[in-house]
Amino acid sequence: MVDNSPYFEEEQLDRSYDLRLLQWLYPLTKPYRLLLSCSIVLVIVITVFDLALPYITKIAIDRYIVPKMETTVVSAGTAGDGETRYLKVDMTEDLNGDIVRRYSRLFTYDGSYALIRFDDLSNLDKKDILVLRRGDLAGVTVITLLFLALIGANFVFNFGQVMIMEYTGQMIMHDLRIRLFDHIQGMAVAFFTRNPVGRLVTRVTNDTQNMNELVTSVIAFIFKDVFLLAGITVVLIIINWQLTAITFAILPLVVYAAIHFAVKARDIYRTLRVKIADINTRFSETIGGITVIQLFRQEEENYHRFEELNHEYYQAGMRQIHVYAVFMPIIELLGAAATALVIFYGGGRVLGQTISLGALVAFIAYMRMFFRPLRDIAEKYNITQNALASAERIYQIINNKEREPRAVDEPGLPEKIDDIVMDNVSFSYVTGETVLANVSLHIHQGETVAFVGPTGSGKTTLINLLTRFYEPQSGRILVNGQDIRTVDIAGLRSKIALVTQDPFLFSGTIRDNIVNGSNHISDADLDRIISASNCRSLIDKLPKGVDTELAEGGASVSSGERQLISIARAFARDPDLILLDEATSYIDSETEQKVQAALAKLMSNRTSIIVAHRLSTARTADRIFVLNRHRIIESGTHRELMEQKGFYFRLHQLQQ
């Protein structure tokens, strides 16, 4: 695409944005801080539980299943193999005594205790072992019950945490969505000419959804993962700090890999987001122009353009896969390396009897747990990036200063619109391309005024300025002597009804479209409005009449009928000023005459401004302003202008 217009292309943002983004995001959580804190507390509890589970296993092994080395005592009576494990049996208990005596050659004695090598236990009858180790068995039972209680509680907490987090995330995003939408609606009209609909829709729906993931999965997981990492580290240090120090030697490599990965993944995520927004735009455009595409048999060409775009998206996706395919295995590899280190050094320690076997097993288990959250964080980084990229785009819009001016302190227009003055107004949409130059005019209450002139002479622009869709670069527009810039914009617009050439009808019934949300219109009023705007015949032929649902964009009624409905909508508004911008272009002269007659009746006390290409439309106006080359060159009634034999006269002549 040639970059030659002020129209679109999304810019990439630099990294300094992140901090500002967080600053902006943080206040959004305000109403939900309590819930968020709840959720975080739950996360901590869950993490502690998660950490406790392997520890319980360790206790079970060390205390009951393979009792610790300390209970083994080197006895003088044996062959001097000081590195053998023994089971210590209390001889003061009768049950034990019987069994020990039966296998006496396997036991050595130490005061009131008897010792037996673990290796020799298998020579005993199973029933006898059960008796000898009934204490350990009871311990295992208790531990198992504790374990069950913990996992039960863990389930409940997990569920609670997910629910709270989802609720919080969804509500924050709901708030953000509404705020963003509100903000977009408040943007100046110029903003919408530069931003395609598809893009803005993506911002309000998909992007807020992405940010929701930031809250629900990322915040929850990051907290969980960070707590888990911290917890594991603490446990590891408690088990054995030397071993911890040695295995952590691998960490710098992990951090390096993670950062490298983060940088790459981030750029790719941005590309993916921009491309998907483009895909959305293309879909929307294609659907909107489908008839033209089909009639001109452009399906193939359009498809190829789409295919290209889609392929770019695919390629970005493949780059992303590559980055992940390198990073993920590397983290796993480093994890395995850590395990190897533990086996090598830890095993040595077990041999040197500075670590218990249970401790080593637990250490291995924790070490393997340690790498999962690390990988998780990196994996979640992708969602985070996605979310931050979305947040950035949203922020860009929210931060866009192109807003329509908000309500000012001025009380607005308390009374009816009496007169309108344009004082030396100049305007251009694009700097350097003048559309209006020093236009001055005065319209009185009750007048019907028409703007005529060649295409591009600035007629519609005058309307755009009156409704404050745009602001003039110089000069003033006064309503009742008050500069409209000092008037509340909504207050001004509420006194105006605008009917455009391509009226936009909303999905909903015809009634909804006409009454437009105001409920003080009675059925009788509505009936009168329908007749006046010549909508009667079109409504009568619809099976459900005025309660017929209009399809998207009002496709089920013709262009002319849509203009009639929009005229009815303008009548229903009961405005002081009615602006008809080519409002009858799709309507035949006869119907137009009827509408104008009705208009004249309805508007008898009010002001109307008509922009028309068809001179017949303008003829009945009280005054006609002729625009040419950005200026008003003639004005007067039809008769006066014809007599002047100027530009207006020539416009008529030229027809022949």
């Binding site: 092994i61 299943i65 393979v66 068995l137 039972t141 996992i151 863990n154 569920f159 997910v162 509500m171 509404i178 509100d182 609606q185 395609p196 609909v197 598809g198 829709v201 729906t205 735009t281 929307s284 455009e285 294609t286 009639l295 001109f296 048999r297 060409e301 889609n310 996706g317 896969i321 395919a325 295995p329 796993e332 590899l333 390396a337 190897a340 086996i343 090598f344 095993g347 041999l351 076997l357 295409t455 591009g456 869709f469 617009r493 015949s537 089920s556 013709s558 203009q563 009639l564 080519e582 799709y586 035949d588 002269s589 006869e590 068809r614 001179l615 003829r619 014809m642 008529h652 027809q655």
Partner: protein, 581 residues
Amino acid sequence: MKSLQLIKPYLLENRGVILSGILCLTIVDILQLFIPRIIKWAVDDLTTLHIDVTGLLGYASYIISIAVAMALFRYVWRRCLIGTSRRVEEGLRNQLFRHIQTLSAPYFDRVKTGELMAHATNDIQHVRMASGMGMVALTDAVVLGVAAIGFMAYINTTLTLFVLIPMPLIVFSTRFFTRKMHRLYQDVQASFAGMTEVVREAIAGIRTIKAYTREQNETARLESASRDYVNRNLGLVRITGSFFPMMMLFSNISLAIILYLGGRQTITATISTGDFVAFISYLGILTWPMMAMGWVVNLIQRGTASLDRINRILETRREIDDPPGVLVQDSAGGDLDFHDVSFSYDPASPPVLDGITLSIKQGETLGIVGPPGSGKTALLRLIPRVYDVSGGMILLGGVDIRRMNLRDLRSRIAFVPQEPFLFAGSIRDNITFGNSDITDEELNRAINDAQISETVASFPHGTETIVGEKGVILSGGQKQRIALARAIVQQKPLIIFDDPVSQVDSETGGALIRSMKSLEGSPTTIIVSHRLSAVQTADMIIVLDGGHIVESGTHETLMKTGGYYARTFRLQALEEYPHGR
């Protein structure tokens, strides 16, 4: 399940890649199982203290070498399997796009743009996730699960059976939950699509909203749509949020069983300590497939729900299509006949056109006038089969147009719709549609004929000016004339203008009418216009009212009849031709 046929071709096409991916994944999974084995040996040796430092170093280096091999295979399966899912995504989206383009106008009257857009992005992404990570996790779960169970059974069969006690629970609850999830996902997606549509409509109609200070209404509409979406999500999370922890619970129950029974067996010296530890490790491996089952099921549910929705679109037959059987090839002439044609957009409503019979000879001009809603545009749309007649028939060169190849039919017609639609590209692209057969000379002639040359010349980039979405930088009249140039440049034997001068001033309109009359190759021309000067010289003029032809004839005969045409003509002549003719 039928919708799975949709992604089958992609899977078949990439079967080599997928198989190598699965192979690598399986290798990784199996290698992964060796690590607990090595740990077990090391622990066993340490329990009985039958090992020295060299032995430990040996074990450590086994682990490292296995890990390196795993890393390599992991890279390969990621590229192969996840890569394929991207391929599926791309293909599906292309397919959807291509299909949507073939659907006919009645479909778009029913379906909302925002919803279609949601299918193109969200749904397809879900399918990708399901066919990528979903498949990987499934393979992973099956391979790891089977292998871990195998190893465990090898160590101790009874204990293994005990460990598997929660399995039926997992299967049962998965079935129960997934059924719910499927429906809930559909709800969430539907709600999302609905919300998208609310936003789209508001942004598309922003000027009207502003002019009618409807902002608050729109916000309220979004508010309720968004709230619905929030509630649907919460409903879904109630299920997913209990599902995952439940899977974890079940796998932890297995661990508790091992702890209790395995612990007892170790105490009674039925199994070695090393076996016990290895058992716990294997269970750790088994935990992942058990949990993954939940996740996989979730992903796949969501994916198939989305796939169903996409499939529904793809299965939509276009209502207007080539007829079955032998098509009439090139029909002889360009004569156009309407034979008792009736039409309604919707069978429930009264006809828009009724009993229309007329005929135009090749090279002639037909003018159509009439009040709004009289059926003018509908009549025009029937000719290139944007819609099909409800009764009667339309003949082109003596052949029913429904018996002709649709592309052939349309290739003979140039159509200028009432409301021009421009694409976001350049002016040139909008006129030529990138057709390189159109020379600059032809382009310029079309631009001249359409009376838009001055405007184009005033842009710094001329015909290369980007017009923006729907031609936002242009005025209505400018858009209309570009659409005219688009039709003129095609040089088709039949050209249809729907109100071509409605948005331009009289002077330009007059010039346009003159160029329409002197088109190259003197095509058959049909013009609808409210400006009678555009139809005045037509060979035949018809007046439509309420779907019927109420007057027909030439300008002269109609003026004599003194009906609608004559009245309108006088009304316009009064002002536009102040000195008569």
